[in-house]
């Protein structure tokens, strides 16, 4: 990550640098380093999980599972750090596998990126819950390096079903 901290220009960002950011993000989330994860986001970042039956919709007119602006993301993190966030106490253990990273478009300051994910979630003595899907990112290049302006986790399952909750950061 050291390299990406220097000024980045979107036209020159390589897929390797994008992957480094995404893998770093996954490691932070799996380690529940939530404040460090917040630092990867822009001041106007959004985090969204669409409803399973409307994966391509807009949150203004469609019920999502999660549709956070940066204020709500910060409130979500504050909640998750409180042990009274019962759904995540004790915390789940997660392990994220990120692959098929593609840069699908770019302009002077931003990159549009997609990646596949599998997130394994372990709770107490329960059997594993598997969250499979793809991320849609908008990454912004600037003085602080590459940062995440938009992060949408789109699940492939027809319904949440046995996954149950999205009570952690997916």
């Amino acid at each position: 990550m050291k390299k990406a901290r220097t000024r980045a220009a979107a036209p020159k960002v390589t897929r390797g640098e994008v992957e480094e950011l995404l893998f770093h993000e996954a490691a932070l989330l799996d380690a529940w380093k939530l404040d460090e994860w917040l630092a990867l986001l822009t001041e106007d970042a959004r985090y969204e999980v669409p409803s399973n039956d409307r994966p391509d919709a807009d949150p203004g007119g469609t019920l999502f599972t999660i549709a956070d602006d940066i204020g709500r993301i910060r409130a979500r993190i504050a909640r998750l750090k409180d042990k009274n966030a019962h759904a995540e106490f004790p915390r789940s253990r997660t392990r994220r596998l990120i692959s098929n990273v593609r840069v699908l478009g770019r302009n002077a300051s931003e990159l549009r990126v997609e990646a596949n994910f599998v997130v394994y979630r372990f709770r107490r003595d329960e059997s594993v819950r598997e969250y499979v899907g793809r991320y849609r990112y908008v990454l912004r290049a600037g003085r602080g390096g590459l940062r995440i302006a938009r992060r949408q986790a789109v699940l492939d399952a027809m319904e949440l079903g046995s996954m149950g909750l999205v009570s952690f950061i997916l």
Partner: protein, 428 residues
Amino acid sequence: MNDRPLVLNEAASFRVNRATMVDPEILELERRRVFDVCWIYVGHESEVRTPGDFRTRTVCGRPVIFCRDSANAVRVFLNTCRHRGAMVCREAEGNAKIHTCFYHGWSYDRDGRLDGVPGEKDYPQSFRKADYGLMEPPRVESYRGFVFLNFDPKAVPLPEYLAGAKEYIDLVIDQSPSGQMEVIQGTQDYDIRANWKLLVENSFDDYHLLTTHSTWLDYLKNAGVKMQRPDREHLLPSHGVGKPLGNGHATTDNVNFRGRPVAKWIPVYGDAAKPEIERIRADLVARLGEARAARVADTNRNLIIFPNLLLADGSSVTIRTFYPIAPDRMRVRAIALGPKEETPSARAIRLDAFLTFYGPGGFATPDDVEALEMVQAGISATYREVPWSVMSRGMAKPGDQLNSDELHLRTFWLQWDKLMRTEPRAAQ
């Protein structure tokens, strides 16, 4: 069943036997004695708008096609081919003139009539297509857009069944100038590893708010929402009651402190949303008068329509219905409801407010789910040694039964117990 009391209702003690949450025989009996004789929610008329529109879903354990027929009437068909039984319609939603069973090619029109039978001439002369339309539940009726079915042909009409719940449905409908609420697209379908009746209790139990949802209350406080310190009589920041409505239905009815997209602004919505909420409020007053507008906007109500439908008119409007798939597991389907004529900006505020509390990624529902799963985990293996749960709050108390008391929960359980002791008509 009769020699084994499951609900003990005494002068100052109300107890529920935990076997009701665990025993597979009780679940099987519930399917016949509760679900098959009650009006069960299917969907909302706005989900199928024009002839041929359909949605497939599971209602009361049965696969059904919920649709509009050629005369624009809402219909419900059992989704099983009259020939050999395959599910005819395999898509989640769409519009179709004909539903064809792919197995042998029998096809049905949108009125459910058997339309085509490949090689029809090889059936005996007595074979008549008119005898083999898609089957329908014995009864399908709707109230103000909410469609229900009943597997008991002799059931009382839906409006009679809904009893006092009608007044509370009307309060939801009054949010729309034209009296038309619509389902907003996007469905939250998720499982909870707990008995379905635990979600009935939880859905309108305000006793758990302070402890289960402290992080949500902190979120509101940090955003600047003002909450009164409860006085000696109250556990919660505002006054609210629990109220039986007949036939096992019950509701909470609370003075609102948590904001309402119709039409009570709180800082969580952001300053930009303030003029829009004020405009909705002014329209509401102009249309309904000051008193009724305040009734609609300044109270929030969680209404349970017996046995498995919640209309939560709180931080937003959500319809939640749930069905047992095992004694310790239920499937939940939740959607959002909004006025048909809502502006895009008001709709966005409504959906944003929804997600502050409700749903599998909300700031409150996940902790409810955790509570229910912890109850199930706690009782599943111990219900013989620790057989009774206590539900006596508010009993023998003068004055209002509060939302943090348990009268409304007892109302559900008494109806459940009555039905569980009643032989279904067909078996008599």
